[in-house]
């Protein structure tokens, strides 16, 4: 594009950058407030806290039983990741390779859970899970979380599978591989980058998924984000710093996986969820 040197253009660009800067500065200041508060001894009415300490972390660790919460969180998250891969990848393969009557309807079925917000379908879903006795324990939380993640894996995987040359599969078939062998020895190695990306995104999304877990979790099946919600909701019962320490632990857990995920995927993939 031709470089535009008019004053109005420059002013407009400056205004845009100010807006971006304002947003980013406030975002980081907000995160910094939580981190600072979690390390402070007392912080009332001053720019910076009166002193620094790490004791709130051990306090939060025991007060909120974070060991249990973290182990429950990771059991749930890894179950969701494994199951959505097991259910999603074969389905994506079938959808990428075959045209069958009713395919459009099936695709619609996979798009809807991503377009409808979790709280809208979560309430009827939680009702069914309570009636069948799943909700309140880990299996119910896993089932509820799989509803958006299975379609997510399918929609991310379809383009990955479509770009693999069908001749490779035909060659494997000629040499006598059945569908299972084809999957294990040919497709899986070729699809590994795609599967890894999809599953990491599922992991990040499940860690941050509040609504579905909140609606279906019982006292022993809370994930970290739900425990954080209850702590903030009952603020005043515990020291602010202790809640902030828990928030920092949650941030670190999520951001570690985000950083790992970003090595394999484009950041926009976390957001642009349902591109047809």
């Amino acid at each position: 594009m031709v470089k535009d040197t008019r004053l109005s253009t420059k002013l407009w660009a400056a205004a845009n950058w100010t807006l971006i800067g304002f947003f980013v500065v406030n975002l980081f200041a907000m995160i910094a407030t939580v981190v600072t508060s979690s390390f402070s001894t007392r912080w009332l009415g001053t720019w910076l806290p009166a002193g620094w300490t790490t004791r709130w972390y051990s306090a939060a660790w025991s007060e909120f039983q974070l060991y249990d919460v973290l182990s429950v969180t990771f059991q749930i998250v890894f179950l969701v990741v494994a199951l959505s891969g097991l259910i999603g990848v074969p389905a994506a393969y079938a959808l990428a390779r075959r045209d069958f009557p009713g395919k459009k309807l099936v695709m619609l079925l996979f798009l809807l859970p991503l377009l409808v917000p979790p709280i809208t379908f979560g309430i009827p879903l939680a009702t069914v899970l309570y009636q069948t006795g799943f909700a309140g324990q880990m299996s119910g939380v896993v089932l509820a979380n799989l509803v958006p993640t299975v379609p997510f894996v399918i929609l991310v995987m379809i383009p990955f599978i479509e770009q693999i040359d069908t001749k490779i599969e035909a060659a494997a078939r000629v040499f006598g591989a059945n569908t299972f062998k084809l999957f294990v020895h040919v497709l899986l190695p070729l699809l590994m980058p795609g599967i890894l990306a999809a599953l990491l995104l599922v992991l990040v999304r499940t860690l941050a998924m509040f609504e579905l877990t909140f609606l279906t979790a019982g006292p022993t099946s809370q994930t970290l984000v739900v425990a954080l919600y209850y702590a903030v909701f009952a603020a005043g019962v515990r020291a602010v710093q202790s809640i902030d320490a828990m928030a920092v632990i949650y941030m670190v857990t999520t951001l570690i996986w985000l950083v790992i995920a970003l090595r394999f995927v484009n950041p926009t993939q976390i957001v642009a969820r349902a591109k047809k």
Binding site: A29, V128, V147
Partner: protein, 296 residues
Amino acid sequence: MSTDTSTIPLKQRLAARGLDGLTLLVLPAVLFLLALFIYPFFYGLFLSFEPKQGGIFANYQRFFSDRFLYGTIATTLWLALPVTIATLLLAIPIAFRVRLMKNQRLLTTILVIPITLGTVLVAEGLLNYLGPQGWFNRVLMTFGIISSPVKLLHNYWGVMLSLVITGFPFTFLLTLSYLSGIDPALEQAGATLGAGPWDRFKHILFPLLLPGLAITFCLSFVQAFSVFPSAVLLGAPSGPTRVISIAAYQAAFEEYDYSMASAVAMIMGVVQLTIVVVVLAARGLLYRGPAGGGKG
């Protein structure tokens, strides 16, 4: 053809239509979603017509006669529509700016952070940051812009700000991906013919972007409409920010009236769907051709 179809085995006839062993791999996923997405929806729909007391429409009658309940629709719209429009108005110029950048990865990564942290953490952070003694008010007071702290928590503005923070990155990245789908040759042609930046925006890029913006609007609106944690933590959940999801949650988990909760969830879905259908119908009137960024 029709005379000898009977001699072809059923298996081959099905395979010719794309149904063979491989197609069956889609079945687990379909069955799973039928059981946990479609079935709960219809279960909820029927349950909403079986109220604890009264006729089949009693839940809906109760919802639309109790101001505390039907008022939640207006409250939620009053939050969700301004938030969606504000995020779009912010996202469009910034997306146009960022599109010209060579290295977008750092900025997009920063913008993804609030989404991955989620609404609960943003709410917790804003409680500290926007509080009367928080850094936000302190900076404004130091610069003399305000004389006493602005009250931004436990009211409409707290929820609004948190929704903009969590909603803006989503809207921005979606707009950016639609914008980068527009063929740059069109804009260059316009520039060659002497169109300035504003003319190029008004006559070339904006019309081509509109279909994508319609989709972005729908997705952002639906997200904002189903606000829950920030309305409880940052708002005034019994008053000005009593949104419809709070009403549904209270019916289900405080009154244990699943029938009423399903009715509220259905009403919530219908309102969302109505707005989406209206926007998409308007989108149908727009140009969508090979030049458009209409990936969606």
